[in-house]
Amino acid sequence: EAGVTQSPTHLIKTRGQQATLRCSPISGHTSVYWYQQALGLGLQFLLWYDEGEERNRGNFPPRFSGRQFPNYSSELNVNALELEDSALYLCASSPRGVEQFFGPGTRLTVL
């Protein structure tokens, strides 16, 4: 069974640009979660999507947004990039339960 996949593996942007990160969940999983792992800040919850709708949001500004598609894959968009957005962005998927399975992450570098 294929795990959670994320693309791209690495992404380099300059300040002020927009970044789009993609996530494909495990087949049969309807929930997708996004987390940010920034140096010195640990793992922080960003967004939770289930059945195409945003269910919960962490303490991040509105320039962090996303969506979930009918096939349950998801996009995370970060607008007006700032230097402190540089981080590893992890996506996780879950069936209708609490256990989450993580992808390998996208490393975003903002110059």
């Binding site: 959670v4 929930s31 979660y33 987390y35 640990g42 793992l43 922080q44 919850f45 939770w48 269910r55 919960n56 962490g58 992890l90 996780a92 879950s94 609490v98 256990e99 989450q100 399975f101 993580f102 992808g103 390998p104 992450g105």
Partner: protein, 113 residues
Amino acid sequence: AQSVTQLDSQVPVFEEAPVELRCNYSSSVSVYLFWYVQYPNQGLQLLLKYLSGSTLVKGINGFEAEFNKSQTSFHLRKPSVHISDTAEYFCAVSDGSARQLTFGSGTQLTVLP
């Protein structure tokens, strides 16, 4: 609101020695508890989970953890570590309704030859 405290940021231990990584949590409701491992430049892999039932939970790679409700702890243990266990370990909690995980700050386990 929930929080997780991992008391040790770094734990060095010699190969084949036992290890315990400590985790304490705070929550006003019943929780689900998890330990994840992260190898360099990789995502998180689930080691074990406590959802309900027996308080002693066995996971992959010989790890186990014990849920102690009165002490609000969920410490991770392994009786004999290997070099390959060198990684960062994260304790996490979920209250089930909000679903997202709240993570501790992580413990870097370094196994020395």
